[in-house]
């Protein structure tokens, strides 16, 4: 697939050189770190369908991408892991109308075979090392919300949230950093999206957070207003929203 798109790009380059005005475009897509695998597939599909166009993907925490767009990064499409950052860009006139294209929820991941954490209650046990994403990262905020709900429910004691937060050893900058440090066995538990857990299914144990205490993460996607390739950007967004893009997202565990 990769070779195919390379050949296609090469051909497009040559064609562009030979016939000035041929519309080979590079579409720059800024996407939340949790979308990595799914968007790589969507991008490959797009490049297959639009010979000559190339998709350039940049993954990071949504808050990082937002700052980069605010500071004038040249981007065509923004896919965030929450509405907050998309709304902020829209208010600033930097992002056009957006649509929610996927939903996600939180789970706790534990290194496979780790004896320290068997259930949610263990995450609050003294001495357990817990990783979360920072307060500006969407998944970090969702984590705080879910912990508040769990605490308020009183299932594991009133001070559940406080005790878990006392166990937090680091606030990582994106969800994948949380996952990889859990994979390395450096932490006993990490709060990530269910889709991240699927990417490392063999190496982690997943502890579910019951739906009524969980948080639904909404992923909006939109075209950046100052983008250079507006038409292609729109086509990419349509692909994500369409049945083919949705099938890919489903494959990686996202919900509609």
């Amino acid at each position: 697939m990769r070779r195919l798109s390379f050949v296609a790009q090469l051909a497009a380059l040559l064609a562009a050189g030979a016939a000035p005005g041929a519309s080979a475009e590079t579409v720059r897509v800024f996407a939340a770190a949790s979308l990595m695998e799914a968007f790589r597939d969507v991008a490959a599909l797009y490049e297959q369908q639009h010979a000559g166009d190339a998709i350039e993907l940049n993954f990071a925490g949504s808050q990082v991408l937002r700052t980069q767009i605010e500071q004038g990064a040249s981007v065509d499409v923004f896919a965030s892991a929450d509405l907050v950052h998309a709304d902020a860009l829209k208010t600033a006139g930097l992002l056009g109308p957006y649509k929610v294209f996927a939903r996600n929820r939180l789970v706790v991941v534990v290194p496979a075979g780790s004896p320290r954490v068997k259930g949610l209650q263990d995450v609050a046990r003294p001495g357990v090392k817990v990783l979360v994403a920072g307060p500006t990262v969407p998944v970090g905020r969702y984590t705080t919300q879910a912990l508040a709900k769990l605490g308020a429910a009183g299932l594991y004691g009133d001070d559940f949230q406080t005790r878990v937060q006392a166990n937090v050893v680091s606030q990582e900058t994106n969800v994948r950093a949380v996952l990889s440090k859990v994979l390395l066995g450096e932490a006993d538990a990490g709060f990530v999206y269910v889709t991240d857990a699927t990417t490392a299914a063999q190496k982690v144990q997943v502890i579910d957070i019951p739906e009524r205490y969980n948080v639904v993460a909404e992923y909006p996607i939109g075209v950046v207003t100052k983008g250079a390739a507006a038409m292609q950007a729109k086509a990419f967004v349509d692909l994500v929203l369409g049945s083919e893009g949705q099938a890919i997202l489903r494959k990686y565990g996202f919900a509609r």
């Binding site: 925490g61 808050q63 990082v64 700052t67 605010e70 090392k129 990783l131 920072g134 307060p135 500006t136 990262v137 937090v168 050893v169 680091s170 606030q171 990582e172 900058t173 440090k181 390395l184 066995g185 450096e186 932490a187």
Partner: protein, 268 residues
């Protein structure tokens, strides 16, 4: 320092050709100063995040620098005066932390001292866990910064005339006394500038710290990590903390120059 370089009147073309790089270094640093008005600067720097990051940074870099000197001086002396197999190899090895990307150093530290690491696994048995603690911050700084001291110090020791040391020995001074009364005083400018360089490098450490120590306010969030974290929520605070880091760097440089001027080697 100047004696070596002959000073001459240079043609205008050389002047012109020197300007671009000098400007290129100057302009971004100046830009930092113009974004946030001075009054706001003080307010941002008084924020708990900035205060905690500054305090942690000063504390960890002080300890790291101390360790660099204590552990680095014998090594530097050995590299300068010793003749043994593998000296060249050791010399090159000590340069590696300069060329290895810091984030790679962080991964390496994690794989060595992390809970499942080569050494960390043994420590874990005794309940010692390093990753995500202030100790990890110091270790990352020590790893990255030590070559700057060792290189400078070993060059300093090498420049000391070995005949002076030998003469002192023939007059009955012990090795220890020769080291403290001859070698160290003569190499002092090099040693001091090595200390300042190592401290400055520890101040700017980011990649290895992020990887090995993580990011937690008050425990592992140093100034550079605070800049990164603040950048995601509040550009002004990020710039304010950057200005503070710049001030520390300038202090380090001026300090190094001043120290070098104060303590010129007695016989140099």
């Amino acid at each position: 320092m100047r004696e070596g370089g002959r000073q001459e009147v240079l043609p205008r073309s050389v002047w012109l050709a020197s300007i671009p790089l000098a400007l290129y270094i100057c302009v971004p640093l100046l830009a930092l100063l113009f974004v946030v008005p001075p009054t706001d600067l003080a307010r941002h720097l008084a924020s708990p995040m900035a205060v905690r990051a500054l305090w942690l940074t000063l504390k960890t870099t002080a300890i790291a620098t101390l360790l660099v000197v204590v552990l680095g001086t014998p090594l530097a002396f050995m590299l300068a005066r010793g003749s043994f197999r593998g000296r060249g190899l050791l010399d090159t090895l000590m340069d590696l932390p300069i060329t290895v990307p810091p984030v790679v150093a962080g991964v390496a530290l994690l794989l060595a001292f992390g809970r499942r690491g080569l050494i960390g696994r043994q420590l874990d048995v005794y309940g010692v866990q390093i990753a995500f603690t202030s100790v990890a911050v110091v270790m990352a700084q020590l790893f990255i910064a030590s070559p700057f001291f060792v290189k400078a110090a070993s060059a300093g020791f090498e420049a000391v005339d070995a005949r002076l040391e030998a003469a002192a020995r023939t007059l009955g001074a012990s090795r220890w006394r020769v080291f403290w009364t001859i070698s160290v005083p003569l190499a002092r400018p090099a040693l001091l500038s090595g200390v300042v360089l190592a401290w400055a490098r520890a101040l700017s450490e980011f990649g290895a710290t992020m990887m090995f120590a993580g990011n937690f306010p008050g425990r592992t969030q140093t100034l550079t990590l605070a800049v990164m974290s603040a950048l995601e929520s509040d550009l002004e605070t990020a710039v304010a903390v950057s200005v503070l880091s710049l001030a520390l760097a300038v202090t380090a440089l001026l300090g190094a120059k001043w120290l070098a001027g104060q303590w010129r080697a007695p016989l140099a």
